[in-house]
Structures are given as C-alpha cells and as structure tokens.
C-alpha cells in the first residue's frame, strides 16, 4: 500500500496497484462532529475527479464527499453505512468510504503529501 495523499476537500487516498482507497480525514471528522449517516457509492459507478461520490451527515448538517481521483467504483464500505459513528473513531483506517480502479496515476501524484495537507489545514482553519 502506498503512502496516503490528501485533497483540499479533506479526503485521503491510498493506492494498491491500480486500486485506490478513499476516505475522509481525521481533520474533516473533527469539523463535522458526530457522524450519524453515511451513503457510499455502489460498485460499477464511474467517477470523475472531484465528482460527488458519497454523503456524510453529522448531527449538524449533510456534506458531500468527492472523489479526489477518477475511476470506477469497485466497492463501497457498507460497514460505515451500518455504523456511521465508526467514521469518527477510525476515519483514516477501517472507516474508509470506497475503493475505485483508477485510470490516471498522475491524479494521485498531484495530491498533497501528509505534511502539505497538515500545513493546508493550519492555513485554512474552518
């Protein structure tokens, strides 16, 4: 598994061959608060980079989750749809949102590193 890369919309991506795993960052969950609803995409769905991919709702509001990378969904994580609160406890581990088969590794390479993302969050406090 490759190192995690990060988007400005607070998603993370890791890469295993040509399959990417996408989730939302710990920082994102802290901004959202208690997560109470998650909708993940079905396998087979084609996604463009920055296209709307999933939904996450906290007690406060609903937010869209975008795919930081284009490709075709191979799996949505049904476990987080059944237990939305798990996204608060392990957002960057077991509570990933979806996996997709990517077309262009260049999109992954262009995302932020962990250090760059941390800096981005500091400079753009919500």
């Amino acid at each position: 598994m490759s190192e995690k890369k990060f988007s400005k919309k607070h998603e993370w991506v890791s890469l295993d061959g040509d399959v990417a795993t996408v989730g939302i960052t710990k920082h994102a969950t802290e901004m959202l608060g208690d997560i109470v609803f998650v909708e993940v995409p079905d396998a087979g769905k084609a996604l463009e980079k920055e296209g709307q991919a999933a939904v996450v709702e906290s007690t406060k509001a609903a937010s869209d989750v975008y795919s930081p990378i284009s490709g075709e969904i191979t799996e949505g994580n049904k476990a987080i749809a059944d237990d939305p609160g798990s996204v608060n406890t392990d957002p960057e581990g077991a509570s990933w949102f979806f996996k997709l088969k990517i077309k262009d590794k260049g999109e992954y390479d262009s995302l932020m590193s962990k250090d760059e993302y941390d800096k981005f969050c500091k400079e753009n406090p919500s």
Binding site: D34, V36, F37
Partner: protein, 364 residues
C-alpha cells in the same frame, strides 16, 4: 445590528464553545464533547443551557392587564394562579402564531418568556393591546439558565433549598447570594429540570457551582436534538405566522374556556378549524432507515403525490435513529401511515410516528 452576547459569553469561550450567530446573538452551538455526548449527558445526568438570549418580559397592571393580554394570548389568565406557568402563543388576526411562549403569573402581573428572534416584534404586538397604566419591561439585566436532566433536582436543591418542592410548570422566588432569583420547574428537553432567572452579575457563580457538580454545558445543537426527541416545536421552523395552533397540533394549549368564549385574535378562524379540522397538521415522522430528513424535505404518499414537508429533522441520539417533524395533509396524519421522504432526489420510506419520540419524565 451589532451581534449581541450574553453575560456568559467569555465563560462559554473558556469552556471551549464553538459559536454560531443565532437570532442576533453569538451563541454556543456545542462545546468540546460534541452534540451527541452533550445530549446523552443531559438525559442521564444533567446539563445547563444559557438561554439568556430569550426575552424575559415583565408586565404589571390591574385587572385590565388580563383583558389586554387575552386579546393576543389564548390562555385563561384569570384562572392562572400566582407562580403557575402555561405554554401559549401570540396570535395574529388570522390565528397564525407570532411566537410561542411561556407565561407565568407573578405577584404583580405576568412574566412572559419570548423567543430571542421574535422578542422585539412580540413586544410591539403585545403593546398594541396594553393600556397606558400597564407597565412593561424587557429585562436585559437578567440571565436565564436552564438546568435539565434527572439529577437537576438533587443538584439545585443543595444550592437553593426548596426548589425540589416545585411542581412542573410552577415557580417561586428564592434567595441566592443575597439576591432574589426566580426559579421555575420547566424546560424544553423532555427532562425534569428548572429555568433560573438570575442577575447577570451572579450568573457565573451559579454556573461554577453547576460545573463543580459535573453538570455539562450544552449548546444549541443538543438543545435542538433534545427538544425534537421530546416532540417540542422550534419557532421559525415548526411554527410561523402562517401556521395556526390547530394545524400545529397544539390546540391543547388553547384554554378550554377561551375555545368556547373566544375574544382573541383569529378566534373566528380557529373556532372553525376546531370544529372542522385543518387541511394539514403537524406530525412526528420516523424514516425507516438511517437517512435524515432535514427541514424542507418533501413528503410523498405511497402513490407519489406530494402531501407535505419536513420542518425539523435530525438524528435522535436517545432514540438512536433519525427523527423528524413536519406537516402533512390531514388524511395522511394517522400514526403508522407509510410515507416517502425525498432526500437528495431519492425517495426513502418512513412512517407517521407518535410524539414525543422520547418519553418525558416531568414531576407532576
């Protein structure tokens, strides 16, 4: 208009509050624990809420004061005993709800608790009916603290002996730190608890005491999930000037005598609605799955006819499921009726549910 702050603003800040603008005030939406934990700790222990943004409106006058107030408030004020409170409304000429309120009879007159966003207009509306010799004051020198949850009584009784004897929707004067304060047994969470009217100069000391008894600060976020589980309306969402008490399923809050005799704004219309029913009515709604039907979600029948809309919707932490309230055509209002909720363009199943979603434990 400049954003206003309550006397506890800095105190909230030190407690790690996240603020949002609400009804012209900077108010805490949540603290460090977050909405779900705040909600649960209110239900299992006790929480305090700074509701000082709400209007504490005092009226004094002779017997003509009741006559004046009853023109706009459909409560039976003649038969309201001193230190007893009623939930009621201000009504416009069409019977629409200008605001919902709690009115308490005091030694000299009445105290009305008004919603923050409405209070300036409310006072204008009430004033139309007042006589020159009726005195009134919106007291901004007082804070209002709600203490809610099963441990409230034990905790407050230690500090202010006697409050445990208050019954739900009654109040009294007590002494604290050499000052008079007014405590009512009431609240808006579905829990036993109190609302404490206390001077801005003493309020921090009261909160210090509550915190030392592990009472958590609770923000507007959990206040909303708590009141929605308890089936209670939020003005500006579930109620507004175009909704009347019959549609709002609040006809119980119109005094029996007033239903018969009338003499208040919009009575003709309300009398007719009481006899014949309204076209739409407020109901509880439970989505079948985990999807949250928020405000403005459209409601459809199983035949895909649009039959109503959601006015409040969230996840209920104590119910451990999404809960909502809204208005549907009356023929679809029976508990158990299957409906559809359109969320993000997709229709999800749901049912008309009993209110409250969470059972109350008031001390009667």
């Amino acid at each position: 208009m400049e954003v206003q702050k309550t006397a506890l603003y800095n105190y909230h800040k030190n407690l790690g509050a996240k603020f949002v603008p609400f009804a012209g005030y900077e108010m805490p939406i949540q603290y460090k624990d977050g909405i779900v934990k705040e909600h649960i700790s209110t239900r299992t222990h006790a929480g305090f809420f700074d509701v000082s943004h709400m209007g504490q409106f005092f009226l004094e006058g002779d017997e003509t004061l009741i006559e004046s107030l009853e023109k706009i408030i459909p409560a039976d004020l003649n038969n309201l005993k001193i230190n007893h409170s009623k939930y009621s409304f201000l009504l416009n000429n069409e019977g629409g709800i200008i605001d919902d309120l709690i009115i308490t009879r005091t030694e000299k007159g009445f105290c009305i608790i008004l919603n923050a966003a409405c209070k300036e207009n409310d006072i204008k509306q009430i004033s139309q009916f007042l006589k020159k010799h009726h005195k009134h004051l919106l007291n901004n020198d007082l804070s209002l603290i709600a203490l809610q949850g099963p441990k409230s009584v034990e905790i407050l009784e230690k500090l202010i002996p006697g409050v445990a004897n208050l019954k739900f929707m009654t109040g009294n004067n007590f002494e604290y730190e050499g000052e008079n304060l007014y405590v009512t047994r009431s609240g808006y969470t579905g829990e036993d608890g109190f609302e404490i009217s206390i001077s801005n100069t003493k309020v921090e000391k009261l909160i210090d005491y509550l915190i030392s008894n592990e009472v958590k600060p609770i923000g507007l976020g959990a206040r909303d999930t708590l009141r929605l589980e308890a089936g209670l309306c939020l003005y500006g969402h579930d109620l507004n000037e175009k909704i009347n008490p019959v549609e709002a399923n609040l006809k119980w809050a119109i005094a029996k005598k007033r239903k018969e005799i009338g003499g208040f704004n919009g009575w003709e219309k309300i009398k007719n609605l009481l006899a014949n029913g309204s076209e739409k009515i407020r109901v509880g709604i439970k989505p079948d799955g985990k999807v949250i039907a928020r405000e403005n979600t459209k409601i459809f029948s199983l035949d895909n006819d649009e039959i109503g809309y959601v006015t409040s919707g969230t996840f209920g932490p104590s119910v451990n499921a999404p809960v909502a309230m809204g208005y549907v055509k009356s023929e679809f209002s029976e508990v158990g009726t299957s409906i559809q909720l359109e969320v993000r363009g997709k229709k999800y199943g749901g049912k008309i549910s009993e209110l409250p979603f969470y059972k109350k434990s008031y001390v009667k």
